[in-house]
Symmetry: C2
Subunit: 195 residues, 2 copies
């Protein structure tokens, strides 16, 4: 017997964070009633994004082109690189419009608990960028968690050997908070007061 | 400039009930990290469901085939039809496995506020099924709201002329429910229907 298309869709949709089995059922019924206005465009947008969007080979940002829009932009300051854990943090910073340099996405933090060491992060590429592109300042915009600050410390040690100024986000980031959840005003203030 | 694929996907996903703009962003990042395991299968399942799933011309249920699996099943009792507002209610009843007849999906209730009259509901088809298929019992499984009960009353009047038994779901204490939290109306109904 063929797998039921609806059950399959509900099961997959229920794995999306923010939706469980029950809300996935509701969502599928909602989508089925809006087949042409929402369901088909959403399916196509998802397919297109899955096929076209790749990680930028320069900074790790997600974009349909490589290098990404930020790395390609000639208006962006090539002197400063802002190091973030994840693309969501990069988006949060971009929404503030407070930073005019470029980014570097680590893809996580060092974590003893999760067994994530330096070699699992996008670190070698960062060191190479700093060395080869005459970067003057690296801003470490990492979460104010233990893992985030350990990672910041590790990167700062690694980079100061290359004669680059390493700064961190100012106090204002709540201890234990995640960047992605921060409001834009706090994020802007923290960026401006970096030291 | 081309529309950014990620922004488009976030915008569409944020319109799914249960997800807002912020959780849509998180969901997209989560999906992008699970491109092959989740994102592509989900896009394809959504496309397939949107293309293949149609309302059953017999009962209004959603299925890839017409008539739907319930209407096609020779094991189901053709003597009784359970009338529900929506496909979600049909699914809820199917999960109980307590009903062995067939269904009829109205597509809503009568509503003076929303301006929904009898002609907007899948009612003519129900009357025809009752008349032509020798149906013995019609169970009205409609919500215990004012609109739901108005609709049940309207359908009961319409159908008794065709010599069919019309029943409704019993009102009472939900199984596992605490008396203390029950509203007065339900408690009164449960008391009156004691056995």
């Amino acid at each position: 017997m063929a797998v039921n298309e609806i059950d399959k869709l509900i099961q997959l949709l229920g794995r999306v964070p923010g939706l469980g089995p029950r809300s996935a059922r509701r969502a599928v019924l909602y989508l089925m009633k809006r087949r042409d206005q929402l369901m088909l465009p959403l399916a196509q947008a998802m397919q297109a994004a899955a096929e076209k969007i790749r990680a930028c080979s320069e900074c790790g940002n997600l974009d349909a082109q490589d290098p990404c829009a930020v790395c390609r932009d000639p208006e962006r300051d090539r002197q400063s690189i802002c190091v973030v854990e994840d693309v969501g943090d990069l988006w949060a910073l971009e929404r503030t419009s407070a930073f005019k340099g470029r980014y570097h996405v680590l893809g996580g933090t060092l974590s003893a608990l999760d067994g994530r060491g330096p070699e699992q992060l996008n670190l070698d590429r960062l060191v190479r960028r700093v060395r080869e592109q005459g970067v003057g300042e690296v801003i470490l915009a990492l979460s104010a968690t233990v893992d985030g600050q350990t990672t910041a410390h590790y990167i700062a040690e690694k980079l100061t050997a290359h004669g680059v100024t390493v700064t961190r986000l100012a106090h204002g980031v709540p201890v234990g908070g995640e960047l992605d959840y921060l409001d834009d005003g706090t994020l802007t203030a923290a960026l401006n007061a970096r030291k």
